[in-house]
C-alpha cells in the first residue's frame, strides 16, 4: 500500500476519488475479487495498477481474471475480455464463487442495517412498495459465497436504518426461514460458513463489523466529516468506540491513475471537486 506516499490536499480530490481509493485499499495482492459495475470497477483497476498487480478479477457476466485496458461500463461490456484468462458466462462466475475461490466481493446497496444486511430490491413494504429498485442481481450470491465483502454506499439517514425494507443481501444477522427468527450468519451457513460483510465505505466514513457480534462500528471518518455528523446520519445506534482516525486521502499517483489512465472520460468518477 502507498499510504505513506504523497497525499493529495483536500482541494485536489473529490469524494468519489476518496471512496475509490479507500475501496482499492481493501484488497490484497493475489486475491480473487468479484466486482460489480461502477465505482468498484475503477477501485479494483486502481488496485491492480498499484499495490495488487496480481489480483484476479472476476466479473459476474463471465470474465475470469481480466485486465481491461479501458474501463468497462458494465460487467457485460466487451471491454471486460481484454487480457482475461477466460471469457465465459454467469454459470462459471457463480460456480467459481460458490466453490470458494473468491476472497473479496465489491457491492453496492440502497439501504444497510447495523448487521450489514443490504437492500437493493425495493423501498417500503415489498408487497406494496413505494419504489421498486433493480432487484438483487448477483448481490446476495457474491455476498453468500465470498470470504468478505465490501459495500460502497451513499450515506443518508434514510439509508442507514434499523431494519432494511427487504433483506436482499445477507449480513451478519439473518432470518432463518421459513420461521424467520433472527440467527447469526455463522449459524445460518453452518459448516459452509466462510465470512461476510467486512466493510461499508460510505460517503461519510469507513465502517467495519465486530468479529463476534457482527455489529457495525465506525473505523474512519472521511476528511471534513465528524463522528457526530456520522452518528446523526444513522437510524441505529452506531458503535463509535473503535474509531481509528481519519480516512486516508488519495495520493497524487492514485489521482493520476484514476483520471488520466482509468477513467479519463469521467464515466464513473468526475474530475476534481465536482464529485
Amino acid at each position: 500500500m502507498s499510504l505513506n506516499s504523497d497525499y493529495a490536499k483536500p482541494e485536489e480530490y473529490g469524494l468519489a476519488d476518496l471512496l475509490c481509493c479507500a475501496a482499492a485499499r481493501e484488497v490484497q495482492d493475489n486475491e480473487v475479487v468479484f466486482v460489480g459495475t461502477g465505482l468498484p470497477m475503477v477501485a479494483i483497476l486502481l488496485a491492480q495498477r498499484t499495490h495488487a498487480p496480481n489480483l484476479k478479477l472476476i466479473f459476474e457476466a463471465g470474465t475470469l481474471d481480466g485486465r481491461p485496458a479501458e474501463i468497462p461500463t458494465s460487467v457485460g461490456d466487451a471491454r471486460c475480455e481484454a487480457g482475461s484468462s477466460l471469457a465465459s458466462g454467469q454459470y462459471d462466475a457463480f460456480s467459481v464463487a460458490q466453490r470458494g475461490y473468491v476472497d473479496l466481493g465489491y457491492l453496492g446497496g440502497a439501504e444497510v442495517d447495523e448487521y450489514g444486511n443490504v437492500n437493493t430490491t425495493c423501498i417500503g413494504d415489498y408487497l406494496n412498495p413505494e419504489l421498486r429498485l433493480t432487484g438483487s442481481g448477483g448481490n446476495p450470491d457474491i455476498n453468500s459465497f465470498a470470504q468478505r465483502t465490501v459495500f460502497i454506499m451513499l450515506h443518508e439517514k434514510r439509508r442507514f436504518v434499523e431494519n432494511v425494507s427487504y433483506i436482499t443481501s445477507p449480513g451478519w444477522r439473518l432470518k432463518n426461514w421459513p420461521t424467520g427468527e433472527w440467527v447469526h450468519r455463522r449459524e445460518m451457513y453452518g459448516a459452509s460458513f466462510r465470512g461476510g460483510p467486512s466493510a461499508v465505505i460510505s460517503t461519510l466514513g469507513v465502517f467495519r463489523f465486530a468479529e463476534d457480534t457482527g455489529r457495525m462500528y465506525l473505523d474512519t471518518y472521511h476528511p471534513g466529516t465528524t463522528v457526530e455528523q456520522i452518528l446523526e446520519q444513522c437510524q441505529f445506534k452506531l458503535d463509535v468506540s473503535r474509531v481509528s482516525g481519519e480516512t486516508a486521502p488519495p495520493t497524487r499517483e492514485e489521482l493520476h491513475l484514476i483520471h488520466d489512465v482509468l477513467d479519463p472520460e469521467e464515466i464513473f468518477i468526475p474530475k476534481g471537486k465536482k464529485g
Binding site: L127, R132, T134, S192
Partner: protein
C-alpha cells in the same frame, strides 16, 4: 435437412400469448431487441418472462404491456438508467406479478433445466427475504400448478452427505421459448459466440424452442472446422434468423457497442406510461427492423461499430 431459417416476424409469432419466454444475453449486451419490438408490434399479451437476468429489453417489453408475470432478479440499464422504470411502475400499480430470485439462483435454475433435472441446490441467499415465504408471489396468486410453475418457490434441505448445513433447493426454470442474439449461426443451427457467452448455452438447452437471431448466417461447414470454439450445438437451435444490428440498442462483442444515448433517453422518457407510449410510437410502431435502422442513421451506427481488433468501439463516450 430441415430449413431452420425464418424472419424476425415469424420468430415473434413463435411466442404466443401466455408463453413462457426467456432472453439470453446480459443486461444491455446481446439482447434481441428486434424480436422484442416485433412482439410489441404484434401486441403479444400475458407473457411469463422468465430470465437469468433482465435489462433494458425486459423493461421495454414490460412497458408495452406484453408481460403479466416477470420472474428474474434484476432490471436496469446499467450506467444509463438506475432501475427499470416500467417494471417499477407496473409493480407499484400491481399491473404485473414479480417473482424475485437472486441472479445466481436464476442461473442455477436454468442450469438445472438444461441438465434435465427438477432442481438445483445452492447456498446462495440463505437468510434473505428472497426466501421469505410471504413473498412467494406466484404462490399468493395461486399459480403454482406443478407443471411449468413449480409447486413451491424453493425448499430447504440439510446436506445429507457432508454435514455441510442448510441448503436451498431451487426449481428448474421452464421456458417455452428462448431467444438469443449472437454473432454467428450456421444454416444447421450451430452457434458461435465470441467474447463472454453469458447464459446463452444454458438457456438454449433449457428452453423447449430455441431461436438464434444472428448478425450473420455463415456456412455451417466453416463453423464445423473448429468445433471446439463453437458455443451451441446445431440440434439445440430450432430456428435461425439473420438480422444485422438485431441487438441495438444493446451491444455485441466484436460487432457494436451499447447505444448509451438511446438507453439513457429510454430510461428518462419511459418513467411514465405516457412517455413509454410516445417512445413506442416513435421507435416501434409503424416501423420494421430496416426502417428502424434507417431512422437511427448510418452515422450513429457507424459510431457504435466495434474496432475489429479491440472488439469494442473507440468512439464510445458517456454519450451526449
Amino acid at each position: 435437412m430441415k430449413n431452420k431459417k425464418i424472419t424476425i416476424q415469424e420468430a415473434a409469432e413463435l411466442v404466443r400469448d401466455g408463453s413462457r419466454l426467456t432472453f439470453a444475453g446480459f443486461t444491455i449486451w446481446r439482447k434481441p431487441f428486434a424480436v422484442a419490438y416485433e412482439l410489441i408490434r404484434q401486441q403479444r399479451r400475458n407473457l411469463h418472462l422468465i430470465e437469468v437476468g433482465g435489462g433494458s429489453i425486459s423493461d421495454c417489453l414490460i412497458g408495452a404491456g406484453c408481460v403479466s408475470v416477470y420472474e428474474s432478479c434484476w432490471v436496469g440499464h446499467e450506467l444509463y438508467g438506475k432501475y427499470g422504470a416500467n417494471l417499477s411502475r407496473k409493480v407499484k400499480n400491481r399491473e404485473i406479478l414479480m417473482e424475485d430470485y437472486s441472479h445466481g439462483e436464476m442461473m442455477f435454475r436454468f442450469a438445472a433445466a438444461a441438465a434435465g433435472v427438477p432442481f438445483a441446490v445452492s447456498q446462495s441467499s440463505l437468510g434473505t427475504d428472497i426466501h421469505n415465504p410471504e413473498y412467494d408471489m406466484l404462490g399468493r396468486a395461486g399459480l403454482r400448478d406443478g407443471v411449468k410453475n413449480p409447486r413451491s418457490k424453493y425448499q430447504f434441505m440439510d446436506d445429507p452427505f457432508y454435514n455441510g448445513g442448510k441448503y436451498v433447493l431451487l426449481p428448474a426454470a421452464k421456458a417455452d421459448v428462448a431467444v438469443l442474439s449472437v454473432q454467428q449461426v450456421g444454416e444447421e443451427g450451430t452457434v458461435r459466440i465470441e467474447g463472454q457467452c453469458y447464459c446463452d448455452p444454458t438457456v438454449a438447452r433449457a428452453a423447449d424452442i430455441t431461436i438464434a437471431i444472428a448478425e450473420e448466417i455463415v456456412p455451417e461447414s466453416y463453423l464445423r472446422q473448429d468445433s471446439h470454439v463453437n458455443t451451441i450445438p446445431s440440434f439445440e437451435v430450432d430456428y435461425i434468423v439473420e438480422c444485422p444490428w438485431n441487438a441495438h440498442p444493446s451491444g455485441m462483442f466484436g460487432r457494436y457497442d451499447v447505444d448509451g444515448d438511446f438507453l439513457r433517453n429510454f430510461f428518462q422518457q419511459t418513467r411514465s406510461q405516457e412517455g413509454f407510449d410516445a417512445f413506442a410510437r416513435e421507435w416501434i410502431y409503424g416501423l420494421d427492423h430496416d426502417s428502424y435502422l434507417d431512422k437511427l442513421g448510418v452515422t450513429r451506427l457507424q459510431r457504435l461499430r466495434a474496432n475489429t481488433v479491440l472488439k469494442y468501439s473507440t468512439s464510445r463516450g458517456k454519450g451526449k
